[in-house]
Each structure stands twice: as C-alpha cells, then as structure tokens.
C-alpha cells in the first residue's frame, strides 16, 4: 500500500489564484453558508475507484469528516476526462487536453492505494487488492466505473482499434486518437461504407455513439462528396436514445442526413482482415435496459438470424457491465433487469439494497440511465448526505432524481444541451431557462467545448 505524500505548504499558481478569489468571495458570505457541518468519526471508509465519482467522493468526504480514515483505491496515475474523448476522436481536441495527474485531485489526508481491487467480501467488509493485501472497511463507496466487454464480440479486441478501419471511442484515449486516424483514413480514401454501432447493454455516455456518427457526418459533408460515402447505423433496440423527444429527433435527423438505420441488430463478430462485420438479429422486443435478458437470450449463438456486412470503417461500441470483481461479489444485483451485471443500489438513495454500509455512485450502478459525469455531479451530494446520515443511524435525507446530461453534438460546432431525469418518462430537467434542450445551438456547443471540462474538475474537487 502506498500513500500520497502530504503536500508542502507551498501553493502553486492555481491554488494561489483560487485562494485569493475565494477569500474575496468568502468575505461576502455569512459564515453559516461557508461551512457545512463536519462529523467527527474514526470510521474506515474505502472508496473503490478514482474516476469522476470516486475522486468527487474522496474530496467531499474529506471535507465533511473529521478523523475518518479514508482510502481511495485507484491504480492509475493519470486522470482522463472521458467526456472529451468524442471530441478527440472527431479531430476537434488534442488528446493531451483530456489528461491530468490524479495527484492533482487526491485530497491531503486521504490514503491513495495505487493498486487495482480484485475482490469484495461484503459479509466480512473487506476489499482484496492485486498485491494480495486486504483493506477492511466500515463503509464502502463503490465507484469503480464499468468494464468494456469487447470480448463479447467475436474477433474483436481493443488492440484492433485504429487498424483495419476499426474505430471505438470508448477504448481509451489512445483508442479515441486511433479512431480519429481511422476516420481520417476513411475520408481520405474518397468513399465507401461506414457502419456505426450501438451496444445491447447500458453504456457510459449513451450519446457517444450518436455523437460519433454526427461528427463524422459533419466531416463527410465538409468534403463536398457526401454522396460517395454510405453511412449505416445499427441499433440493437428500437430506440436510439433514452429521452423520447431526443430519440425522435435523432431518428429524423439521421433520415434527413442519409443515414441508413437498421434496428434490432447487435454487432456479434468482426473479421478485421476481410473488413466484414456480423450482426445478429436480436428481436423486436429488445431495448437498452433489458440487459440481462439480452445476455441470456441473445448472446447465445444458436438459431439467430445473422447479417454479414462489408465496411470501410466501423465504429464499435462494446457491451458493458460492472467490472468482473464487482460482478462476482455479493454486491451485484440478484434480480431485475440489472441482475448479474450491475451494482444493486437504490437508484434514489444510492445505498446498496442489501448492505446498508455500502453506497454506489457513477457508471457501476444498476440504473436505467445515469452513466455520465453529469450524473456523478448530481449523485455525489446525495451519497455524501446519505452516507453521513447512515453513519449517524439517521434516516437517509437525500434522493437522486436521475438527473443526467448529454450535450448531444449534432455536428462539429453545434449541440443540444439535453438534461433529463427518471420522472415522467425521462422528462427534461433543464438547468438554464434560456437554453431549450430541443434547440441545436452554438451556446450548447461552447459549453461542451469550453465549459464542461472546468465544471468536471470542480466536481472532482468536491466544489460543484
């Protein structure tokens, strides 16, 4: 186990500026508005994962708890701003823009364990690490993110991204960069067929497959030879997006832009050398959220209708699930649409349904929507408030309304600020009364391009 060295009193330029500005602002505020009540405790809190959710919780809990022994388990040294990967793969951003050292965000006083977790024993309240060491906890925050299951597509591997006309924005920052190169090569070839796929499971940033299609369409249209390129979109479900109004909009826009939509097909195999993809018909009842049924009934290889399609470029979206060590633990959902695949939490309180000392946040939880950084922003204060209440044996006071946001890029330079939640069939929850989520706008694009990354880092610091 390793520990982050405590920082010296020296402030860097960023901290100094923030301190100065913050001090000015602080003088304007009443004291009660500045200081949330802290709780004295000696509890051992383990946070699994140092992505957006884990890091936000580490900062929030370290601010609110006095004396707690907080440990964050995260093997990576670099923090990736994953919402920026679509912009990297579209050639708008440089990949370096999405990376910062994790050390910038780990709060002092929190122990940073640079090991992957490999097991959870919920009964004994223990987490096993890759180096065979064990962390015992009183409270556990599961923020592991999710696992990309490329292996469920026969012949596919993340190593193939960037070769043989294969792209996949999800693979990694290197994968996003190589996806950009693969799209560049396809466009430079002057024509041919591109296939964009979606996954038969809940996915992180569910708008990303659509955004990749839209930004590529933008680039194809800019060549002045759009008609030389065929663009197909293969969807495992009847819908393309959870929010009904946006779903209808995207379908109509795809039709207007000459995208051939085929529904109820999942990518089941790929032959990179031949540049051929196999799609399996998954039936008219399939939808994104019926993940478990899809695994049982449709990941079977027998008696299914298949289509072999040639491609010059293909964008692969892998099936996704909770990481294997979470799936194999007692914490996984045992029934319902997320059984066997996702963390079993109450989607409103974020508390585990069977282990009250366990909370989940971020991509790993079983929820119909909510695998976005914007969801983390909404979930983090709920987990903080409810975990503190749980520690004091009080009723859980906070509820998550399912808020999520997707800046739906409909072309390079324009977007729709789509915000919605669980209620009323995923009704809109706009943050700004002056931005209509149904309008394509430059302002929404500027938010995606310039403002959401700063807001994301503020979430990591527990400030937003």
């Amino acid at each position: 186990m390793s520990r982050v060295p405590f920082s010296t009193p020296r402030l860097d330029r960023r901290q100094l500026l923030k301190l100065g500005v913050g001090a000015g602002a602080a003088s304007l505020l009443p004291l009660s508005g500045l200081q949330a009540r802290t709780l004295s405790t000696s509890a051992r809190i383990v946070i699994l994962g140092g992505g957006a959710a884990g890091m936000a919780m580490a900062n929030r809990l370290s601010n609110r708890l006095d004396g707690a022994r907080i440990t964050i388990v995260e093997p990576r040294e670099t923090h990736h701003y994953q919402p920026g990967w679509t912009l990297v793969a579209s050639g708008v951003w440089r990949p370096e823009k999405t990376m910062r050292p994790n050390a910038n965000f780990v709060p002092s006083g929190v122990t940073w364990v640079r090991q992957p977790a490999v097991g959870i024993d919920a009964e004994q309240r223990r987490v096993s690490l890759a180096d065979a060491s064990v962390l015992e906890y009183d409270y556990l925050v599961v923020a592991t993110g999710l696992q990309l299951n490329y292996h469920l597509i026969d012949g596919m591997s993340p190593d193939l991204v960037g070769t043989h006309g294969i792209g996949s924005v999800y693979a990694s920052i290197e994968g996003a960069t190589r996806t950009r190169d693969a799209i560049d090569a396809w466009i430079a070839s002057g024509g041919g067929k591109g296939i964009f796929t979606a996954a038969p499971t809940p996915v992180k940033c569910a708008g990303a497959p659509l955004k990749m299609t839209f930004t590529t369409l933008s680039r194809l249209e800019d060549t002045g030879r759009r008609d030389d390129f065929q663009v197909d979109y293969m969807s495992p479900g009847a819908g393309l997006f959870s929010q009904p109004w946006i779903n209808d909009f995207v379908k109509q826009r795809f039709d207007d832009q000459g995208v051939n939509r085929r529904h109820h097909y999942r990518l089941s195999a790929i032959d990179p050398g031949a540049r051929q993809a196999e799609f399996t018909f998954v039936g008219p009842d399939s939808e994104f959220t019926s993940h478990h049924e899809l695994r049982e009934a449709e990941f079977s290889q027998e008696g299914e209708r298949r289509v072999i399609a040639d491609y010059d470029f293909i964008h692969v979206v892998p099936p996704m699930s909770a990481p294997d060590f979470v799936r194999e633990s007692d914490l996984i959902a045992r029934d319902g649409p997320f059984r066997g695949e996702w963390l079993d939490v109450d989607i409103h309180t974020m508390q585990h349904n069977r282990y009250p000392e366990v909370f989940g946040i971020g991509d790993v939880i079983g929820a119909p929507i909510n695998k976005t950084a914007a969801s983390v922003k909404a979930q983090a204060p709920v987990v903080e408030a409810n975990l503190l209440a749980q520690m004091q044996s009080q009723p859980l006071p906070a509820r998550h309304n399912g808020y999520t946001s997707c800046p739906m890029i409909t072309g390079i330079g324009k977007a729709m600020l789509v915000e919605f939640g669980y209620d009323n069939n995923f009704d809109f929850l706009p943050s700004f009364p002056f931005i209509d989520p149904r309008d394509e706008s430059w302002a929404a694009w500027v938010m995606k391009d310039r403002m959401l990354q700063p807001a994301y880092y503020a979430v990591l610091e527990g400030q937003a």
Partner: protein, 113 residues
C-alpha cells in the same frame, strides 16, 4: 453550487488563456496610462479612424469567435446564441476602442492638437 465552486470552474476555464488575458490587460492599462500622462482625455479627443477600427475589430469577432470555439457563424442560431454573440462583439469592440483610441492620440492626435 457555491460561489467557491463557481470560481473553481472559472479558474479552470480561464487558466489556458491567463497569459493572453494578462497581456491584454497590460497593453490596455499601459496605453491608457501613457496617453493620459500625455494629456489624453477620453471625451476630449475625437478620431473617426480609431472608432471605425474598433468597430471592425468587434465585427471581426463574428468570424473568429465561432472559429475560436471550433464552430462557425452559421451555427449561431437561437436567441440566446445571438445575445451571447452580440455581447461578445460589443465587448470586443469596447476593449479594442479602449486601446485604439488612446493609441491613436499617441500616434497622431497630439500632433493635431
């Protein structure tokens, strides 16, 4: 969101351009200061060329502000888009005028006076 949170976001957003902002403010303050030390008064000096140049700088924002955001003017579509764009153009023109007007005085205005 707390005020501190808003400032955190603002600092992250401005950090890549801090050098540009500082350089712009330094130029503006320096030109204003030197001109005023040499007798320049904002309302006491008239220069059509400086006014037109500031206007042109502002209007040029219609091209490069969308380009700066990896977009294009054709995508400025909603009422809020236009309010934001016109605000940016006006702000740019005012900033340009605050530099160009005293600069014009230093270059030619004083000779004419």
């Amino acid at each position: 969101m707390t005020i501190q949170g808003a400032f955190t976001i603002l600092m992250y957003a401005l950090a890549p351009f801090l050098w540009l902002i500082v350089a712009g403010v330094v130029v503006l303050v320096a030109v204003q200061l030197i001109a005023r030390l040499r007798g320049y008064r904002t309302l006491g000096y008239r220069c059509l060329g400086a006014n037109l140049a500031a206007l042109l700088v502002g209007l040029s924002g219609l091209w490069w502000i969308p380009a700066f955001t990896n977009s294009r003017l054709g995508y400025v579509a909603t009422a809020f888009d236009w309010v934001a764009m016109i605000g940016a153009v006006i702000g740019l023109a005012i900033a340009a005028w605050l530099v160009l007007h005293p600069l014009s005085y230093l270059v030619r205005g004083k000779r004419q006076a």
